[in-house]
């Protein structure tokens, strides 16, 4: 390949320069220096036949500068035996080059051929440069395409996601163009449309939205189109199953220039949600406005989760601190050992009922009746405590009891007067008979035992009246009722042996094992029992049928139940209703009519309750019940004092 071909085929500026040097060699040149400058290309190379290029001295620099003026320059080397030809290498615009060729002084180079070579080199270098620039442009374009491709792929992904969302949402979605014509709708919208029995009306989103033919001022499509931005509206739609509430959201879709090209509308049926909210609001209202104080607390710590208005008031609760306050912290009374025990029992499933607790509040000391239960709130056990203010009720009960007492006192006074006069009448008559000497004292004195009996009855009456009138202050202690009554039955059997034997009365005693203990004044309850035992015997003494008196001590829930059952004649319903009235008696001269009244007040003073059931000609059953406590329990008074 000759030098010209090499120059033509050179693929880099360096190869082109090398090819040129090879051509110069053929032209008898011994040295050459080439500079070529372009913004993206810089060539600075030199060649010498004997491999020792001449130094870059002032002569060479001067020659280069003069050549750069644009015309060929001839000059003799002052230092070496060489003549130089300076040739400008033609470029374009900012590109320019200089070729310096050194010959022996004897040589005769062809100046036109040299000029041609310089031009060819310049053309080649320019070509190479533009080729290089084209390659770079191509790479850059490829990068752009790639980036664009990626963007498209991302957009496609987003589009698919959006499509899935829009197609799968339970909201109805449609897109309308700025004129309000439907361009797209999702399946829900389609179904809604079916439901509305409309055909898709080309050109009207209004019909889809609210069934009208023309858009109104309120139309979301119109408002968004006119630049309202994102818009939310609540609408109502009457359907066969009632009025539905729709939540309509409209979003503008804008062109890059910011013009609204279409409007996307989403319609959600929020009827169920609203129903739920309303229902929740109703419950909230019930809870909040309840006249009872209601507190939700965590078992154990009694940390308050929620409290209604009444509760906040009576507990003096700071609403801002509600979630962190503890019932115990607010009311140390809640920490009473018995209360604490009840709460703990509550947590293990035993319901809390009718626990009365005094609470000091802004309104003074209030008696609160507490009931409670544990329930599951989202997987957490929560204690629901309800406090009912029973202060007024208790006050009323006290008032009533006082009134009752006054009435009873009136009845009692009349009764006492009647009884005393009846007892005193024979005494006075007896004394008067004795005081006169008109009569036979022997005959009169024969009645002395009768008079003595009357005096005894008077003293019994006085004792009973005092018992009834005097407040019974019990001194309670722990008692095993079954044991106590077994002993007492034995004693009574002995004391009343004559009547039991004479009347052939069968007395039986039975008691359940391991009964709870009771806190009672043993002495008072013994007296009550003796009264009931005596009543039973007296009912049987003259009874024609079976004569059986049973005493049973059993457990009834947490109570201990004492039942005295006789098989006697029973009590007439009229009499049964008055059985506890003072001075009411069916026993004639034997009773003062105070026995049952005294018995009841003794039992009630000891925290017990008494009831009498009777059937005429079948018998009578008296039930006395006392609250039971576990065998090892503390004394109730101590608990209350704590």
């Amino acid at each position: 390949m000759d030098g010209l071909s090499a120059l033509m085929r050179a693929e880099t500026p360096e190869a082109a320069a090398d090819a040129l040097m090879f051509l110069l060699d053929e032209e008898q040149a011994v040295e050459a220096k080439l500079w070529f400058e372009c913004p993206s290309q810089h060539l600075d190379t030199q060649w010498a036949r004997d491999a020792t290029p001449s130094p870059q001295n002032a002569f060479i620099d001067d020659l280069r500068q003069r050549t750069a003026q644009g015309t060929p320059v001839l000059a003799a080397d002052p230092d070496r035996d060489l003549q130089w030809t300076g040739l400008p290498v033609p470029g374009r615009d900012a590109c320019s080059g200089v070729l310096l060729v050194g010959y022996p002084k004897t040589a005769t180079p062809d100046p036109s051929r040299l000029a041609m070579l310089a031009s060819m080199l310049g053309a080649k270098l320019l070509y190479l440069r533009s080729q290089q620039e084209a390659t770079q442009d191509r790479a850059r374009t490829a990068d752009w395409f790639k980036t664009l491709d990626d963007q498209i792929r991302i957009l496609e992904g987003e589009r698919q996601k959006l499509a899935a969302l829009v197609n799968k949402t339970d909201a109805a979605v449609f897109v309308a163009d700025p004129e309000g014509r439907i361009t797209w709708m999702n399946p829900v919208m389609n179904r809604r449309h079916e439901h509305l029995r409309h055909r898709i009306p080309a050109g009207t989103s209004c019909r889809l939205l609210c069934g009208t033919e023309t858009g109104c001022d309120n139309c979301p499509v119109r408002l968004v189109r006119e630049g309202a931005g994102v818009l939310h509206q609540e609408r109502w739609e009457r359907r066969e199953d009632g009025t539905h509430t729709l939540y309509v959201s409209a979003f503008p879709v804008r062109s890059p220039e910011g013009l609204v090209t279409s409007v996307l509308v989403m319609i959600q049926d929020i009827t169920d949600l609203q129903t739920l909210r309303r229902s929740e609001a109703r419950y909230q209202l019930l809870f909040e406005r309840s006249p009872d104080a209601m507190v939700m607390a965590l078992p154990g710590t009694l940390e308050i989760v929620m409290a209604n208005r009444q509760a906040r008031e009576f507990l003096g609760l700071d609403p801002s601190r509600t979630p962190h306050s503890s019932l115990v912290e607010l009311h140390p009374a809640m920490l009473r050992p018995d209360m604490k025990r009840r709460y703990d029992a509550l947590a293990s499933g035993a319901p809390l009922e009718d626990l009365e607790v005094g609470v000091v509040s802004k309104q003074g000391t209030r008696m609160m009746n507490a009931t409670g239960s544990v329930f599951d709130l989202d997987g957490t056990d929560v204690l629901l405590l309800e406090f009912r203010d029973v202060t007024s009720l208790r006050e009323l009960q006290v008032e009533l009891a006082r009134a009752d007492h006054l009435i009873a006192l009136g009845t009692m006074n009349a009764g006492i007067a009647h009884e005393f006069k009846n007892r005193l009448a024979p005494l006075r008559m007896f004394a008067q008979l004795l005081a006169t000497n008109r009569y036979d004292p022997e005959r009169i004195l024969a009645h002395a035992p009768l008079i003595l009996r009357e005096v005894d009855r008077l003293s019994t009456l006085v004792r009973d009246v005092l018992d009834y009138a005097r407040p019974q202050v019990p001194h309670p202690g722990r008692e095993d009722l079954a044991h106590m009554l077994k002993e007492l039955t034995r004693e009574c059997r002995k004391d009343y042996e004559p009547s039991i034997e004479t009347a052939h009365i069968q007395v039986e005693f039975g008691a359940e094992r391991d009964l709870p203990v009771v806190w009672i004044d043993g002495g008072q309850v013994r007296r009550a029992f003796i009264n009931l035992f005596k009543n039973g015997l007296e009912a049987l003494e003259n009874h024609g049928g079976e004569r059986m008196l049973r005493i049973d001590v059993t457990r009834d829930g947490s109570d201990v139940l004492l039942a005295i059952t006789d098989s006697g004649p029973g009590i007439h319903p009229d009499a049964l209703g008055r059985i506890f009235d003072p001075f009411y008696t069916t026993k004639g001269p034997r009773g003062t009519g105070l026995g049952m009244s005294i018995t009841r007040s003794l039992i009630e003073a000891n925290g017990g309750a008494i009831r009498v059931d009777s059937l005429v000609s079948r018998g009578t059953r008296v039930e006395v019940r006392f609250p039971g406590f576990p065998a090892g329990s503390e004394r109730p008074e101590e608990q209350q004092a704590a």
Partner: protein, 122 residues
């Protein structure tokens, strides 16, 4: 013949002492504990005067008087009561009550009342 006086009184001491005193005064005395018993006696025995307690185990004095009058008894009544205010409802004079005595009662009062009533009847 001595006039016959019926004493209806459930209190034993009162009943016996009243009989004692009336017998000392010279009357024939019949006693009854309850109302029903008194009605039975009046069917077979002529009575000139009756002492009635107002509180009897089987009936009250008002009922007894009504029933006695219903069965044809015409003798006058003297009523004995420990509580005058509570024993009566309305006027009892038409029933033949001549005297109402409150317990405890004075023997002289009884003597005067009985003599007055019986002499008026005679």
């Amino acid at each position: 013949m001595n006039p016959t006086i019926l004493v209806v009184e459930d209190e034993q001491a009162m009943r016996l002492l009243l009989r004692e005193f009336l017998e000392i005064l010279g009357y024939t005395v019949i006693v009854a504990e309850q109302g029903q018993e008194a009605i039975g006696i009046c069917r077979t025995t002529p009575v000139d005067l009756a002492f009635l307690d107002m509180n009897l185990p089987d009936m009250n004095g008002m009922e007894l008087m009504n029933r006695l009058r219903g069965s044809g008894a015409v003798f006058p009544f003297v009523v004995l009561s420990a509580n005058l205010r509570e024993s009566f409802t309305g006027d009892v004079t038409p029933l033949g009550v001549r005297e109402i005595l409150e317990k405890p009662v004075d023997l002289d009062v009884i003597e005067t009342v009985v003599k007055k009533i019986l002499s008026a009847a005679a």
